[in-house]
Amino acid sequence: MRGNLAKLPPWTWAVVLTILLVIAGMTGWSRMHFDTSVEALLPEGSEARESIAFLRDSSMAAKAVLWFRFNGEAGTMQELVAAAEDVIARLDKKLVSGVVRPPRESDALAQVIGLLDNAGELLSQDDLKELDAAMQPDALNKRMRQAYMQLARPEGTFLQEIIRRDPLGISTRILQRMHSLNTAIGYRAQVQDGHLVLPDERQLILVLNAKPAATDVAGSTELVHHLNEVIATAPKNVSITPISGHVHTEANDRVMTGDIGFTGIIDGIGFALVFLLVCRDWRVVAVLVVPMLAIATAAGICGWVFAAVSALVIGLAATMAGSAVDYGIHVYTAVREGEQPYAEARRIARPLLTGMLATAGVFVGFVFSGVPAYRQLGAMASGALALAAFFALSLLPAVVKRGGGLSMPNGMSLVAWGRRTQWVAVVTIVIACAGAVTARGVWFDGDVTRLDGSGAAVLKAEDEFQRTWRNIEGDLAMLAVRGSDREDAARRSDAAYREVSAALGAEKLVSLSAFWPAYETRAENLERWRAFWSEQRIAIFRTNLTAAAEQYGFAADAFDPFFQSLQRTEPSREFPPALTQLQQQFFVETGDGIYAMNYLSDDPGLVQQIREIVQPRGDSVLISKSAIGQAFARSAREETRMLFTISGAFIVLSMLVMTGSLKRLLIMMLPALIGLSVMLAVHALAGIPLNVSSVIAAIVVLGLCIDYGVFTVHAWQQNGATLGRGLVSVHLSSVTTLIGTSSLLLAEHPALFSVGLALTTGLAAGYAAAVLTLPAVCYRFMPNNQEVSACDVVSRGA
């Protein structure tokens, strides 16, 4: 039995192990749960993560707006309303659960003025303090004069109903508070015929309750396609523009798919041309299969380890591990040059494993991250790299056509090349140093919205929409206070509002609590109000008021509505129907309860102050665009620090073990350092900040450039040449990679362009350093074959 096993070819065990790993991976895929949100990119328990989760789960995320306007010659509002009604009739109920219908304006005015009858429950203790002073005879005289003047003015007819309900001029502040809620949030929509309109400009909006969330790619795509179909049926003189997060999701997916397809084609053509010309062997395709198999297997195994795997991480890990195609290239070129495939593979095993450990080492640090997505990325990418190295060394030699060499001359020996290029090395090192200094000017932009690839048309339409419909400048942040039900949320929001108002002033927070607080608060207000208006006080006030009013000819019953309102004993249970639109803006439902929304200016200083006030409450989430951006930036900074510490130590130690020399290690790292330095300098000089995408790309640059360094030093120690047997694997891997990355410079999507810019500049500089600088450095500091490396021992042993 043992004899039979010994007769098996050397790759048998590798195949068996590969099959077992692939089975584990495939079964992992079948049980994998995908997480498509970006919250996995934020630290667990962080406020930014809570904010993203809130936005994802809240009913706000499913809102979509259709904006109706006239093309060219304007028509009547009735035409727009008819077009809107037609669109509503055509909406697919599977995709749109309903349309937000504001109450008809016919009942609105009476209800709004009627709010003055609720003064007792809506006026606070502070308001009552001013009542005594306002009831003095002198003050009443002044007030009656003012009221008479108001009646004389154009708006007198309208103000009359208000004056009759508010002889003291204090209850009116209820209406001011209600009005300020709307203006502070900042939309100019009015209600006409049950629609939200800008009547003077003949424009209208429909607010749709969409069923798919804006983060659902498939659902968003279906919704956007459906809306486009419905929009196409509109009258020719009416233009309808969809404004929604779904539009961004669909557009980003479409643009990214198109870019990746284009890049894939360019990459494929480049790869095919280079390899078919140089290798003239169809089996070179196996080189591509190696990283694909490794990524699929590693991701599948992660399906067993993690409860939910971020879809974004799978994409990033695939990008990282895609660099493992180089392992196949190194093995392929070595095997093609020799007669004994596995011996050739063993000859390059150590440099290949050294490069792999250095690249995987970058990701080892991620495993210790506080960010779930980074942990997954660390495990998946380092696992995929290890598997790719294993597959390349164990399977490729059995597949690749042995011997015969490559269609490439050997070129100049590296020793001669190193001697001749010493001045070039000096220049490149000086440039790299200058680049390192320049790179200090680069900064990190944590605003992920700048990676939005929706396109100019979508962004322009949104900008136009904001300019047309909004009446305030700048962004708003939100303070969401959670409650088990609406009343509980309102009560907690009242408490938060009181705390913020006491510390910073009431004007800092736009809150429903300022106008229509919780029932409990309103009951307290009414009790206080009723206690204030004792029968004796009413009698005195009535006498004083009558005396003051008579001077201006006010009727005897002019202020009866006010005195009638004093009879109220119970606060209103229901929100005034005319204000349901307001209520919708201030309450949001999510899976874990109802949130009372408060709004504030998205000023980082103010957001931080309010955060410090409400944080101890434990029932609030602050949603701030600037804070989310800061959280991304902070997370990236902290992770980078941690990464450098752990990964740096791992890389240095593993490379020291593999090379046995600190000097050689530093020389091998030189292309990576130059590549990163130039990449950062280009960003600084072009005024382009780093972002989440380019930071990831920088890691790929680091990994690949270390490989270039390792294999160039290896070629030097092998007395290799600049082409052919020597640096051929470095040339092939870098040229094919650069073809792919440079095609990303044409990408429409900003995130892919960022990746393309970082990879192309970093890898081109790293490759140039490996070819132009490293041989000269080796010539100076590693006189040929004077030092016997572990690599040589392995190769000589083979």
Binding site: S106, M149, Q192, D200, G553, A555
Partner: protein, 241 residues
Amino acid sequence: MKCWRAVAVGVIAAGLLGGRIDAQSLAPTSAPTTFPDGASSPVAQEVVGQPPSAALLKRLADKMNGVETIQATFRKEKKLKALNHTMKLQGYFAVIRPTRIAFHVTAPVRYSVLMQNDQMRQWDEDSDRVQTIKYASNPAIKAAMEQFQAWFMGDYGAVADSYVVTVTATDPLTMRFTPREQSAASQMLNQIDVAFTRDLQYLDWLVLKDANGDTTKMVFDQVQFNKPLPEGAWEIPPRAR
């Protein structure tokens, strides 16, 4: 939500123009109309109780086409439920077509309203403060401006969306603007009656009837077209006159 503001401004507009008056009592009993321009009277073909014909509306608009400036004095009477007397006001107004209008109330109290370009300015002697409202931040005011233009400048198409218009008398021509059901204005206004001078050149009087029973009237005198406007007509606060 903001509909109450829209209504408020609509009523401001109406308040400026309206007056408590019995429309029929103001109807003259004089001889049939003559038309200085020699055109045949389009009014004769109008049917009381029916919407005005397109020809009439066009003629009213045409009448104003050659007019660049208008100035007149006015008398305004407001009968409000809150008061036990009729509030009587008087003043003058000036118009530069198509977008500039100034109202100055001179007695018994003083206040002024100036609407021009993209904003409206108000002043009153009690507060002695000028309040500026930009149309951009308040579309309701802009909508009110359209109504002013309609009534003062003969552009009735601008208010057709919100009102049902009918002819209530032909000599002189009187039309009634009734807010459409469900419109914001219907909550505050019952109707606006507008009477024209016999030559159809301009408004003779306006009557506003509120939904709550209040009425206001505005009667125009000394109407002059294309004459130099008084100095200071556009000044806020106004010059003493």
